[in-house]
Amino acid sequence: METTDSGASATQEAPRFSRRLQQWLPKLVLSPTLLITLVFVYGFILWTSYLSFTKSRGYPVHELVGFLQYARVWAQPRWSVAIHNLAIFGVLYVAICLFLGLLLAILLDQRIRQEGTLRAIFLYPMALSFIVTGTAWKWMLNPGLGIEKLVREWGWTGFKFDWIVNEDMAIYTVVIAAVWQASGFVMAMFLAGLRGIDQDIIKAASIDGATLPRIYWRIIIPQLRPVFLSSVVILAHLAIKSYDLVVALTGGGPGYATDLPSLFMYAHTFTRNQLGMGAASAVMMLLTVAAIMVPYLYSEVRHARAGGH
């Protein structure tokens, strides 16, 4: 409904004002989000970056010290452990999730009865909090009462599975729990990819006598390259951001054997009164994530635009 003002004096003013309001309204509606993004995302990134170049310890100070805080971070043995752990965890987490996800998706793609139920079973860990996952696995991996005891009761009396309290092995328990949680998600991505593949090519190959494993290896899996790319990007950035799971599962221990950059950042910021070092480690985390996500988002958005949107 158009409001038509028939009052003699205001005939010009009111419609013009309402028309102008209509013109500005969309931008007005979007502006709070833009403002919020500018302040709480980009502004805060700048703020933290600035802090990382200052002498700040217990509270922010404005004395600039260049890259000193970064040098101090890199001089910490704890940071080296965190980086080393991130490398082990990241590589194994991404690789095993991809392998299991693809395997489960291909198995489910064989016209399986109860496919929906199985899918739901593989995917439900994704709905849980990392803290719940960590709590559950901490209990299962308990050396005295968990899986170790179970296998011993089954007859293998010398069985030993104490990774969670073993400095050298604890990081692998994080891998186990994280893979359990995320592999179903990768399965869903691959399954969607598989369902998008043109069946005619597969039928043709099958008529030509190619066996199904060969069809998968030669024809289907190569076509899933975009899914591989998306999965690797998503998983890698999740690996860098991992925090809750380690806190709940090992608390970073034993000692700081399962520390990750995220735990390092939290400890130095909130419990060790080293704001500058906390900020410096956060900036390095952001740069690593950005190095992965920005090219990906850029190519996706460009691709979508070229695709007609």
Partner: protein
């Protein structure tokens, strides 16, 4: 952006998908009996492995502590008891106070409901503006907003702690609602924008010609057709916010903590013999809301997951 192909014939409502998937002529699913047995065997094995932690949690939470120390993790309780659940809810110790997790459960409920409603509403409006009232630079702005979804939140912790303190909502549910709304907007905007982009412009244009206004069009034309995307967004936000730990741990103290923080404290509060059954009951209570959402809205949960990762 085309919505990613569904994992079954249902989600897109696209009939070509239905014709493609699961036709009798397909090569898949035609193997020998032996290969069928192997496939089902593998799937059954993996299903068991994935279910194991949940089974262990449930069994442990219904056992008396004596059975836990005497038996193994998959043994059925000889004597079923709800005592651990009652104790987790009413008397478990979270740090120094031993009033159970009930208060924290309600903290999380309040926080989640409010933040979900706020972020979803704003996200829908943003999506509407970004697709139906496009202006120069809209795509760049969208890209800027989108990046916010992927930052490691460690980068905002220090300034946000200072900000919440200055504004006077530090260590309160209000503060956490604010934080979750702010950092949820990019996802809700992403979902709404990618959904509305496929909504026919003609309907909006003809309504404009008929003289309908900005909010009228949104209210009368887009919103009634937004059912699926509202469900996807609400489920995504609900799961994310309920499950959050980092913001909860950073911006709350004591009584104002959300459920996840309380659970972590329950597990790490050790006085003598550890009540593992109470820990598991508390974990089940913390998992309950999101599991419930998953069971009833699983289809939409999956769509949210995919739309949040395979984007464009």
């Amino acid at each position: 952006m085309p919505e990613p192909a569904g994992i079954d014939s249902r989600p897109t409502g696209d009939t070509t998908m239905q014709q493609h998937w699961d036709t009798p002529e397909m090569a898949q699913g035609k193997g020998s009996l032996r290969s069928r047995v192997v496939i089902y065997g593998l799937l059954g094995f993996f299903a068991l492995v994935y279910l194991l932690p949940l089974i262990v949690m449930v069994l442990t939470s219904f056992k008396p502590l004596s059975e836990i120390y005497a038996g193994n993790i998959v043994a059925l309780p000889k004597q079923w008891t709800v005592e651990p659940w009652v104790s987790a809810w009413e008397t478990a110790c979270v740090g120094l106070s031993c009033n159970g997790i009930k208060g924290y459960f309600w903290n999380s409920t309040k926080m989640t409901v409010l933040a979900v409603i706020l972020s979803t509403l704003i996200g829908l409006l943003n999506g509407y503006v970004l697709t139906k009232w496009k202006f120069k630079g809209a795509n760049v702005l969208f890209g800027l907003i989108l990046f916010g979804c992927f930052i490691p939140f460690q980068i905002v912790l220090i300034p946000m702690a200072a900000f919440l303190g200055k504004v006077g909502i530090a260590s309160s549910t209000a503060g956490l609602v604010f934080v979750h709304t702010v950092y949820g907007l990019c996802f809700t905007t992403l979902y709404a924008r990618n959904y509305y982009i496929a909504f026919p412009d003609e309907l909006v244009k003809s309504a404009m010609i008929d003289g309908a206004r900005f909010f009228n069009i949104f209210w009368r034309i887009l919103l009634p057709n937004s059912g699926p995307i509202i469900i996807v967004t609400v489920i995504w936000q609900f799961t994310n916010i309920w499950n959050d730990f980092l913001f909860g741990a950073s911006f709350s103290t004591g009584e104002s903590a959300p459920m996840t923080v309380a659970l972590n404290n329950v597990v790490n509060t050790s006085t003598g013999e550890r009540p593992y059954n109470v820990h598991m009951a508390a974990a089940m209570i913390a998992a309950f809301p999101t599991l419930l959402v998953y069971i009833f809205g699983g289809r939409y949960f999956v769509r949210g997951l995919m739309a949040g990762s395979v984007k464009g």
